[in-house]
């Protein structure tokens, strides 16, 4: 087993090197596509970090993504880039703690609706502030960041989200969350501080989403609330994570990568009907693959490798 681990570690190192060198060899279009792939991989994985074990379906992705983008819009020209990212992290985390403390007591559908409303709430707050205080709406982001820089930052973020996800799954926190996901009452009776566990994970997940927004913002030059807080992102991330399977760390990535490629293919081939075809595909996914690609894989293993002991958490 340890030999296999070593091989896997070597393979991922080699893979990472290839990915890190990629921008040197591809043209602007493939770089843009790679940025899209990384963006959704990080977003979907971060979404799965929280929603996978706890089974809360969150539509707040765009709220955090937008806050990150807006932080860059406001501070990007004033402060150095690492400082801007740090501030985005702090704002995203603070917001997640406040939102988490006030909403994670909600269950099921109530939580879904609240998170959907959250993005709109924040958007309206930003608009209110800009209209009444700064009297500008629509900000310009002229920072010295190239497409390659964006790619590399996203790549680092992707590595970070997987490493942190892997660490969490092995920690007491990860174990606690799995129990909460199975049965919250039981978890409470086991002496788990349910609120702290959920809020912590929600915050970690939200910080990644905020950072993706911040890193992507220089790509667009111009940020206004409707660009930063675009609700489609929330839905795309959910459907990607569902296609991949949110109960495994690498599941959402398995959904994000094929779907990003598929959207790209549809946008290129069916410029006028891509949205329609996407809708049909979403239906197909929910209808035919309720447990996602990961579910297929698990089933496959169960069928072909009969009865290995236990469910063996493999994250």
């Amino acid at each position: 087993m340890s030999a296999m681990r070593l091989a896997a570690a070597l393979a991922s190192c080699a893979g990472l090197t290839v990915l890190a060198l990629l921008p040197m060899y591809v043209d602007a279009y493939y770089l843009a596509l790679a940025i899209g792939l990384l963006q959704f991989t990080v977003l979907a994985t971060a979404w799965g970090l929280f929603s996978g074990p706890t089974r809360y379906v969150s539509l707040a992705t765009t709220a955090f993504f937008g806050v990150g983008a807006y932080t860059v819009a406001v501070l990007g020209e004033l402060l150095s880039w690492p400082l801007v990212l740090l501030i985005a992290t702090v704002i995203g985390a603070l917001m997640a703690v406040i939102v988490g403390l006030s909403t994670l007591r909600l269950s099921g559908l109530h939580f879904v609706i609240f998170t959907f409303g959250l993005a709109e709430l924040i958007r309206q707050l930003v608009i209110w502030y800009e209209v009444n205080k700064t009297r500008v709406l629509g900000r310009y982001v002229f920072v010295d960041i190239t497409q390659k820089d964006i790619y590399w930052q996203l790549l680092v973020l992707a590595v970070a989200v997987f490493v942190i996800g892997w660490l969490i799954a092995r920690s007491r926190l990860g174990f606690a969350l799995r129990i909460i996901g199975e049965d919250e009452t039981v978890a409470k009776h086991c002496g788990i501080n349910v609120t702290v566990a959920k809020v912590t994970l929600f915050t970690i997940s939200a910080v990644f989403m905020t950072l993706v927004g911040a890193i992507m913002a220089p790509r667009w030059t111009y940020i206004e609330p409707s660009i930063a807080f675009n609700a489609t992102i929330s839905f795309e991330v959910v459907i990607m994570a569902l296609l991949g399977g949110a109960h495994r760390l690498w599941g959402p990535a398995l959904g994000a990568i094929p779907l990003t490629l598929l959207f790209e293919f549809l946008a290129a081939r069916f410029p006028t009907a891509s949205t329609l075809i996407m809708g049909v595909i979403f239906l197909l996914i929910v209808y035919a693959l309720p447990a996602g690609v990961v579910g297929l894989w698990d089933n496959f293993r169960r069928q072909w490798r009969p009865q290995r002991t236990g469910q063996g958490v493999k994250a």
Binding site: A32, E130, R135, V136, L137, Y140, T221, Y222, I227, F270
Partner: protein, 408 residues
């Protein structure tokens, strides 16, 4: 489980199959000029793109191809179009353009609709060296952008230009004794309304107008009657609404119902739309708004007729950015034909320095910006004529005071 896998696979197969069938092979013939654009076919920008941008792009391509194509040297080369849907998203617009440039290898690119998307694609077009004729973007940073991206041309000007022209017109009318000095201003709490009211506020103060009312309302406000009633109670001489199309229609309708009839009634985006005339008919008479064109000029009359004939349902163009968009295509065509080959750098140079004969008159850029804009228009006898700046050729004398509303 097996069956659901099969179902999914079958579905996916069907989709990809359809995709492959529709995928027509790229035309390898060298005998065409490839022109690409990504427009918002879906999402919040779709309405604007469908009225102002798409009909002009389609009409221009049709006209050029009917004449045999673009004249390169001594032969005519037809235009081949590659188009995408940017789904009103900045990220999608950016990626579509990168696809047009590196995958489809198009010769020229026509810009997307709206300020935000034009800014999002600005750096891409600049880096790849494509001319960028932004004909639907209003931004106060236009002069700075033109300097930053010398390939970009900002045909619709700045919001400060729009607000200042309006105030200049008010000053002139006040000097002529046609209006007093109370102004009521409302603006939509979004980019357009905030920028314009932000520019108008100091300009009005400087010109010693009394700003009796100055409020914003959120995008998508349905019930505008409280605003109109509050303003009516103040009885201002001038009413200014920096509004978006749905509110432009809503405010005008409410004003008519409440018989609020100030000497000057000005509304924002949408006043110049053909829809405005359809909805209000004779009541449009005297309403001012942003935009306008030289409705008496022969090229504009001809353009209007061709536009009506070219669109399937006989749709008319709007009286602001439509003509500018079409003129930008004429400029691009003249620049390409003068250069005589696909040489984007030379075309950009020609756009920067040349003079162009367009439906909106002779255009010559100064620092990549036009020198003449229509900022204030007014409905007069079923046409939305430009009235400001008054120094523009073809400017009509404004009808002031606005005639009373009639029962519909």
């Amino acid at each position: 489980m097996g069956s659901s896998v099969t179902r999914f696979a079958a579905g996916l197969l069907a989709v990809t199959g359809a995709a492959l069938l529709a995928a027509d092979g790229p035309a390898l013939a060298q005998s065409s000029v490839k022109i690409g654009y990504a427009l918002s076919r879906t999402g919040p920008n779709a309405g604007g793109a469908a009225v102002t941008t798409l009909p002009n792009y389609e009409m221009w391509v049709k006209e050029v191809n009917a004449a045999g194509g673009l004249k390169l040297g001594d032969k005519r080369v037809p235009i081949e179009v590659v188009q995408y849907d940017d789904r009103s998203s900045a990220e999608e617009a950016a990626r579509s353009l990168e696809r047009l440039i590196t995958q489809d290898k198009v010769d020229f690119i026509l810009p997307p609709w709206g300020t935000g998307l034009n800014l999002a694609v600005g750096p891409i077009l600049n880096k790849a060296g494509y001319p960028h004729l932004a004909s639907t973007a209003v931004t106060d940073r236009a002069p700075e952008l033109a300097k930053r991206w010398p390939n970009s041309f900002w045909l619709l000007g700045t919001s400060a230009g729009a607000a200042n022209t309006l105030v200049d017109l008010l000053v002139k009318l006040r000097t002529e004794g046609k209006i007093g000095d109370t102004v009521a201003m409302v603006s939509v709490a979004d980019g357009f309304g905030i920028d314009l009211s932000g520019a108008a506020r100091p300009a009005l103060a400087k010109a010693n107008f009394k700003l009796a009312y100055d409020k914003t309302y959120p995008v998508g406000t349905q019930d505008l009657s409280p605003i109109v009633n509050e303003v009516k109670a103040l009885n201002p001489d001038v009413f200014i609404a920096f509004s978006y199309p749905p509110d432009t229609l809503g405010i005008t309708e409410q004003a008519r119902i409440a018989s609020f009839n100030p000497k000057i009634f000005y509304t924002g985006v949408g006043t110049a739309f053909p829809l405005f005339k359809q909805k209000f008919g004779a009541n449009a008479q005297g309403v001012m708004g942003i935009g306008g064109w030289s409705g008496d000029s022969a090229p504009i009359k001809d353009y209007l007729a061709r536009h009506k004939a070219a669109s399937a349902n006989g749709a008319e163009p709007d009286r602001w950015a439509s003509a500018v968009t079409y003129a930008s295509l004429q400029m691009l065509q003249q620049a390409i034909e003068r250069v005589g080959k696909i040489d984007r750098e030379a075309v950009i140079k020609d756009l920067q320095t040349g003079t162009f004969d367009t439906i909106i008159g002779k255009v010559k850029f100064e620092n990549n910006l036009p020198t003449k804009y229509w900022w204030v228009g007014q409905w007069q006898d079923g046409e939305f004529y430009g009235v400001g700046p008054a120094t523009n050729e073809g400017a009509r004398t404004p009808v002031v005071p606005k005639p009373a509303w009639k029962a519909p």
